[in-house]
Symmetry: C2
Subunit: 236 residues, 2 copies
């Protein structure tokens, strides 16, 4: 391999207004991920470049790019010369996921309790919690799942750490399907999430970082149990 002759920047690209996603590969990625997350494409479903290219009325190239990204994010598996299969999370991955989340979220709530939240931040949390209460009363599992995600995301956003946000957002997307399946079947757990959230926020407001972290740890442990034993209450 020849040496790179003049690799240094001789021309800096200008940052122009990038619409964000009128690229076909972005469209393919978004569409496929949405179908996977909503369960439209169940784990084990078989995909091929040409097939998806036909659905989306584009060529193989952007579909391939979308596949590679989805694979790197853990949603699918590409087997060379064989095909693409929608992945599911293994038990070990779910357990690892919650351990990782526990480490990060306990850290976050501990910090947030120390450095008191301002009025605007508290308003956002309170608004979210009130909406959760409504979702419980109305029995809307979908709303509760969405609000749960927004709740945890709010806490991370308040830390102002972009790397943390990136990691957590990616993890949330991966576990979402499992949450939906488990929570739809387990109405009991569905109702206990909200009070746990409320108690965590209460501890944060009180400035008790130790307690907030401890409560968050229990909250996530409960969540893990629900996801790892999804068929228990389904049979009752």
């Amino acid at each position: 391999m020849p040496a790179p002759e003049s690799t240094h920047a001789t021309r800096q690209p200008h940052r122009t207004a990038e619409g964000g996603g009128n690229l076909l590969r972005i469209k393919a990625y978004t569409e496929l991920k949405a179908r996977i997350l909503t369960g439209d494409l169940e784990p084990g479903a078989f995909l091929s470049e040409r097939q998806v290219a036909g659905w989306l009325a584009m060529s193989k190239t952007p579909v391939r790019a979308a596949f590679e990204r989805l694979e790197s994010e853990g949603f699918i598996t590409i087997s060379p010369q064989q095909g693409v299969v929608v992945r599911d999370l293994s038990v070990a991955e779910i357990a690892d996921h919650f351990e990782l989340r526990a480490a990060l979220e306990c850290f976050v709530v501990g910090r947030l309790a120390d450095s008191k939240l301002d009025a605007a931040q508290r308003a956002l949390l309170d608004e979210n919690l009130d909406a959760q209460q409504v979702a419980i009363e109305e029995g809307s599992v979908q709303d509760q799942i969405r609000l749960d995600g927004e709740f945890h995301q709010l806490l991370f956003r308040f830390m102002g750490n972009a790397e943390l946000m990136r990691v957590m957002t990616q993890m949330r997307e991966r576990i979402l399907r499992v949450i939906q399946r488990a929570l739809t079947r387990n109405r009991e757990r569905f109702r206990t999430i909200y009070p746990e959230h409320r108690s965590i926020v209460k501890a944060i407001y009180a400035g008790d970082g130790k307690l907030a972290a401890q409560l968050m740890g229990l909250h996530l442990e409960n969540g893990k149990q629900t996801l790892l034993l999804p068929s228990r209450t389904a049979a009752l």
Copy 2:
């Protein structure tokens, strides 16, 4: 967009012996990342699909795939219709990196202290620490950087959490260049890393999770300071 007619798995790909990386896109990815990590391609360096394809004697296709992966991992920036530029970590990213690492590594050492390490694990840590001492005496910055990475990686591996390993490995690769630049200039910090590692391991062996986590927090705080103020001792 038409509905997916029959997406369910009708044919499961067989797992065959995949060599791992005789794919051209893997070669391109590996080669480019190596050049970026070693500093051969400095931040700001300009790349193009055709240029790199020429270096590596392949077509644009696998190079493009490598670019997209490197972009998702934060090593480069792809500007549509403009080009590819090797990225550097901003001050904010470095700070966020260390905060995230602190959350994870303090958690890890705390856990490891509680569940005592077995003899084999202690042997690996001791071996690594002894090698660090040698590196210090010999003044080999490169060896110390390598051993430092292996040290932290050992701790994560002992947790047995694949997700944790993945996140940390990716983060380590991103920060590596900054560490190399900073540590090469700051010989003072270079010498203080080893005793900090030693004290952390001592706390773990003693079963004192609180102390281990606290020491790890200080260790990372020192590291952050070194990386964020690289020119201080460079002038002395």
